[in-house]
């Protein structure tokens, strides 16, 4: 039993070290999926958050419908619909269809994060801007959104981490990211446990880096906080 335990971890360590090149390459794919999908999702989220707050009923309905559909269906279904749906009409790689699927998915959650943080800024800020002769959109852009973004950062960071881990679903449509490489290695060696743990190490490292980056941005934007 004891020897088994030792040999398992020795084996794990060998696997971790020997597969370094393979997994660093896969990590780059995971990071690219995450970065592309999150950047697009931020724009989608902001767009739908502003629609929801527009006080124009049809726009609110569209935003609500979008959020309802995304939150009401599994991510894996959304990714497959994007993959089969998009490749049907458009020559698009697996990487891009997953990126767009993830962006579509995270955009809904980010829309709700932005909506909440925009609503949390007191209405006195908008009134102050308007009383100085600034237009609604200028006040939104210069006064409300910078403060709202600052407040949105902690939940956004959370959502980014979820997005990073959800990018593992790209494995199911053949994108060679971390989880895909781990299962391939597992199948080749009949040793799934070792390779799944190796993939876990890479996810932990990436989440650690992402957490640090969000923390730095938070610190940088903290100017003026009470």
């Amino acid at each position: 039993m004891y020897l088994n335990f030792i040999s398992f971890w020795a084996n794990f360590w060998d696997a971790l070290v020997s597969s370094k090149g393979l997994f660093i390459e896969a990590s780059q794919v995971t990071l690219a999926l995450t970065a592309v999908s999150i950047v697009i999702a931020i724009f989608i989220g902001l767009f739908f958050a502003l629609m929801k707050l527009s006080n124009i009923k049809p726009l609110e309905w569209i935003a609500n419908a979008y959020i309802y559909i995304v939150r009401g269906t599994p991510l894996i279904v959304q990714i497959f619909v994007f993959y089969y749906g998009l490749t049907e009409v458009w020559m698009i790689s697996g990487f891009w269809s997953v990126s767009l699927g993830l962006a579509f998915h995270n955009g809904a959650y980010i829309a709700e994060i932005f909506r909440g943080s925009i609503q949390s800024i007191g209405k006195g800020q908008m009134e102050a801007g308007r009383s100085l002769g600034m237009s609604h959109s200028l006040t939104m852009r210069r006064i409300i959104l910078p403060q709202a973004f600052r407040r949105a950062l902690p939940p956004l960071g959370n959502q980014f981490i979820i997005g990073l881990k959800d990018s593992s679903l790209a494995a199911f449509i053949g994108v060679s990211e971390i989880f895909a490489v781990a299962t391939t290695q597992g199948a080749n060696t009949f040793d799934y446990m070792t390779w799944l743990l190796v993939s876990a190490v890479y996810y932990l490292i990436l989440v650690f880096i992402l957490t640090m980056v969000v923390g730095l941005i938070e610190k940088k934007m903290a100017a003026g906080d009470e």
């Binding site: 007191g122 006195g124 800020q125 009134e127 102050a128 801007g129 308007r130 009383s131 100085l132 002769g133 600034m134 237009s135 200028l138 210069r142 006064i143 910078p146 403060q147 600052r150 100017a223 003026g224 906080d225 009470e226």
Partner: protein
């Protein structure tokens, strides 16, 4: 008519079913300091907020400098540049420094070059006694300092009228004086001012005219001496004896 800065005819305002302004007739002349007094809920803040269209009137006419303002047709952003406003809760922009607060609207709305806006902004901050705080964030300031920055910020747009909505009500008592002093200085320079306040000392000393409101109507208006020493209306007498 020519030196009427503000003229309001038969102004009505509803919040849902609540009738908060019930036919207000009201004028402010150039360089005049008008103080609105009355119990809370009497409609004085709402009247003030109607004057720069933060609240939209339901009925009646509002003339600014002899020109009728139609909120549906006219560019309110342009018009609001002429009417500065100071709020009870300051509403400074917390993510900007004191100087950035002051130059925000001139640079963004009037397209004043940044160097010039900064120079003028610093002068305004000197004027309200806060030249040394230009690079601090509002969170570092006391309430009285915040309110003086808010006054400087409104003045940076070079308004022709200043509206004050209970500017000292949120302040600790020892900080009220510095804000009132800044307002007095402004009045002495000839600024046209409409002030909602509970500071009767300020009203007595600085106002050219005091307007007493009750239940959405103007009950009595007159020189401070007349209103405070010889109020004609029973309601005014009751209000004044309750607070003085």
């Amino acid at each position: 008519m020519s030196n009427n800065m503000i003229q309001v005819n038969q102004l009505h305002k509803y919040f849902g079913d609540l009738h908060v302004l019930k036919g207000i007739d009201f004028t402010v002349e150039e360089k005049e300091v008008v103080v609105l007094i009355g119990a809370s809920g009497s409609g004085k803040s709402t009247l003030l907020r109607c004057l720069n269209f933060l609240e939209m009137k339901n009925d009646g006419d509002i003339f600014i400098q002899g020109k009728e303002v139609n909120p549906k047709k006219d560019n309110l952003n342009e018009f609001r540049q002429k009417v500065g406003m100071v709020f009870q809760h300051f509403n400074l922009f917390p993510h900007k420094t004191v100087l950035q607060n002051v130059i925000e609207a001139p640079t963004q709305v009037k397209r004043v070059p940044k160097a010039q806006a900064k120079k003028e902004g610093k002068e305004l901050l000197e004027k309200v006694g806060l030249g040394s705080k230009a690079d601090d964030y509002p969170s570092k300031l006391s309430g009285g300092q915040k309110q003086r920055v808010a006054i400087a910020r409104a003045l940076a747009m070079k308004p022709e009228i200043m509206l004050f909505d209970e500017p000292t009500s949120a302040l600790d008592p020892e900080l009220v004086g510095e804000v009132l002093q800044t307002m007095k200085d402004l009045a002495q320079e000839g600024m046209t001012m409409v002030v909602v306040t509970h500071e009767m000392g300020f009203a007595r000393e600085v106002a050219d005219r005091v307007v007493y409101m009750h239940d959405g109507k103007i009950v009595e208006t007159g020189a401070p001496k007349d209103i405070f020493e010889n109020p004609q209306e029973e309601r005014t007498q009751a209000f004044l004896s309750s607070i003085l």
